[in-house]
Amino acid sequence: MKEDMQRLVCLAGAGGIRAAARLMTMAQDSPERMAELLSASRVWPEPRIVVGLTGPPGSGKSVLVDRLIAGLRKRRPERRIGVITVDPSSPYSGGALLGDRVRMMRHAADPMVFIRSAATRGRLGGLMLGVVGTVRIMGLIGSDVVLIETVGVGQGEVEIAKLADLVTVIFPPEDGDSIQLLKAGLMEIGDIFVINKADQPGAGRRYVQLRAALALGEGRPDDDLPEVHLISALEDKGVGELIEQLDRRYERDHAHWRVRRKAAIESEIRRAILEEFDRQCAQAIGSEEVKRILNDETSVMELVKEISSKIAIGAYQSGGCCS
């Protein structure tokens, strides 16, 4: 039986946490329902600011997120905070251990904090849809700030971070020499940079190296360099300054963010359609179809026609969790 999305949206909009969580599962599990959800979400309340936090494993992202939650809650006790943490799925078993919450458990029973873990599930398109949907639902339940934490390894995670209004890249002090900072990837996507673990040796030097590397970027004027924060999340030092920086960026750029979010909906709906199409195709192509090609019984073009006509009559509809 399909759960009634509209009913869940109503319940979540009225503050129903269980309904919101069910909708998030739908967003993660059922691409065929996402276009519907994304389209409906155009009239939902939106988070004021969506921040992506990424960086290498062990750079202290989860602890920093924990401190950001605490800092934001203290500053604005009446406002809700959403957190999405992404951890990898096993390419062998498909399972995942989602452990980022361990660092944030002191906020678990705070009714103004909603934390949701997501596994990468080996499919970038599906994951991005799931995270986009989850951000929207966080908006629906009235979240002011949404933090998205991803491990900054691999293209997928970088793409996820780019869903945010602002991307914060976090480095630990002991992360290789200055050449690492010249490499493509993380260094290019950051709006704000953090050297975490300032309580450890080498952090100061890393800070200088990072600023120097950023200054090399395509002739930017000195006053337009991304800001670099030296933080010790562990000792809760420098976190307040980072929150102030996020607010300053909001003041400066929120009009631009609004336009960008509106423009993104179109490509998100396109992605939802493609995901569902891909799912149905994957279902249609089994070993039998491959064998027919191997035995010269059919051509790829013939097979495409055959599969398309089967898709057209709904031969592969549903199959998500809710069917």
Partner: protein
């Protein structure tokens, strides 16, 4: 991956989610109370991960309130709690009450640890669907979680 995991992951694997597979079931594994013996909980989290489940691990010394709020926000199918402290009866009761209060009684509860045989039937009567004691095999645990999670998904 073990043979056991290979056999069982067909039900929970996500890698063929784009094909004929179904999305993985989500499981919360955690410990409540002051008991810090987490080796068993971590082991179970690990074998469930290897069997294709998505496991949300909460760590040690959590309150029933934290466990229930997490279970709801993460929309899990099953909550598995480990006890080596003798406090399983009172804490399970509190978790069951809180799930009810939050209209989340459909979430399946499972227990494990050094739970005396004499307590198992009363836990089961209270609504704990399975109890694993020392000596339970990985295969038995994985199969039970697979069967229970399938049942839970069927409710939706």
């Amino acid at each position: 991956m073990t043979e056991m995991a290979k056999e069982t992951n067909c039900r929970a694997s996500s890698m063929d989610f784009g094909g004929k597979g179904v999305p993985p079931a989500r499981i919360l594994i955690g410990k409540v109370g002051l008991d810090g013996h987490d080796r068993g909980a971590k082991y179970v989290a690990h074998i469930l991960r290897d069997a294709g489940f998505e496991v949300i691990y909460t760590g040690i010394r959590r309150t029933p309130e934290q466990i229930v709020a997490t279970a709801i926000q993460e929309d899990v199918d099953i909550v598995g709690l480990s006890f080596l402290s003798g406090s399983h009866k009172s804490f399970f009761k509190r978790v069951i009450d809180l799930l009810e209060k939050n209209e989340a009684s459909d979430i399946i509860l499972v227990g494990g640890g050094t739970i005396p045989a004499a307590d198992i039937s009363s836990l089961r009567e209270a609504g704990v669907r399975a109890v694993f004691t020392p000596g339970a095999s990985a295969k038995e645990i994985v199969e039970t979680f697979a069967a229970l999670s399938e049942k839970h998904k069927g409710l939706r």
